[in-house]
Structure formats: structure tokens, C-alpha cells
Symmetry: C2
Subunit: 112 residues, 2 copies
């Protein structure tokens, strides 16, 4: 374990990561965008349980952190498309490990 | 990438993981306990910025999720010691990946 031993320097980088990914929605939005660019309404549907207000706030925050890109296409009506950036895709290992751990946690706690 | 493709079943397990680890404190507390069992006051000092009220709440939640163990020793005064469980230690890969990603995110965003 890289982080074994509780070195304060490692805690700082974990803290940075947790601050950028805070809350239960950001990784789910990124996960949804990892399968391809999407419109707001598609994301709203795929990320079950999120309100439009929160989704809008989270998308802005993800854009500031360079994890997603927002593009406006000059169509009628104009289309706004969100896509994951290479920096966002660099979270794939984090998402993989969370996915695997989530599976084992479900078995452990929920007995499913 | 295991989770590539945004499969809804994978999203469920990521959601489970994020719910168990929600907020910016739980992983930091687990990280601190990964170096050894600690008393409340030691944790409070090591997890910089957390209030005693929040720490107490988070510890209860981590115990419910079987990620930590709380033991009371019959000394004068009684000592309460928190330690990480094997299930909590199974988050080591998640913490490792968050640590590595946090480092690269700091470089990307903060230019440090």
C-alpha cells in the first residue's frame, strides 16, 4: 500500500482529490460521461436521483476542475454537449477501484 | 478500464461505495487509522480541520459500515481506542489511486 503509514504528505494529496470529487455526484457524472459525450437532459436521466439544479452546479464545478468540457453547437436550437476531458479520464483507476470495493461492500453490509 | 462504457450495474456499485464514503472526512479518518489504532484526541489532531462533533458523527458512521472498530479499555480513566477493520483496510487500493490522482490533479490545477 502506497499510502500505508499515514504519511501527512500523502494525506494532503488524498485531501486534494477528495475536495475535487466531493459529494456523491461528481464521480457518477464522470462515469456517465466516460461512455461518451452527452446533453444535459441525457445526464439528468442517467444519473438517477440528481436534480437539475444540483447537476448544473456540479457540471460547473467539474468544468472549473478541468474534468469535463462544455461545448455549444450552433444548431437550432443550440445544443450544449458535455464531454469528459483526458484529465477526467485519468480518474478511471479510481472509478475501477471504487466499483470493485462497492461490490465487496454491498456483499459485506447488505448481504447481496 | 473496468468501468468503461458507463454500464448501469457498475454505476450501482460506485454509488454504493460513494454512499459509504460520502464527504471529505471518512477516507481521511481511515487513512489516519491505517497507520495504527488511535484515541479520539489523536484522530482529531491528525485529521486537520475536522471538528469534534463531525469526527464523532463520522466515527459512528464508519463503525456502522464495519470500516472501523471502537474498543473501550477498563483503565483509569477508561480509554476509547479506534482501529481500522480488515474491511476498512480493503480500501487501500482506493486510497492509493486517490493519492496518485490527487498528486496529478494538484500539478494540473494548482501548478504545484
Amino acid at each position: 500500500m502506497l499510502t500505508r503509514g499515514g504519511c501527512p504528505k500523502n494525506m494532503l494529496s488524498i485531501r486534494d482529490a477528495l475536495e475535487a470529487l466531493e459529494g456523491k455526484w461528481k464521480l457518477l457524472i464522470l462515469f456517465s460521461l466516460s461512455s461518451g459525450p452527452k446533453r444535459f437532459k441525457e445526464l439528468s436521466k442517467e444519473v438517477n436521483g440528481i436534480t437539475d439544479k444540483i447537476l448544473s452546479k456540479e457540471l460547473k464545478n467539474l468544468e472549473i476542475n478541468k474534468l469535463i468540457k462544455r461545448e455549444v453547437y450552433d444548431t437550432f436550437p443550440p445544443a450544449v454537449i458535455y464531454s469528459i476531458t483526458p484529465h477526467g479520464m485519468s480518474l478511471e483507476k479510481v472509478m475501477d477501484e471504487l466499483h470493485l470495493w462497492g461490490l465487496s461492500h454491498r456483499k459485506k453490509i447488505m448481504g447481496k
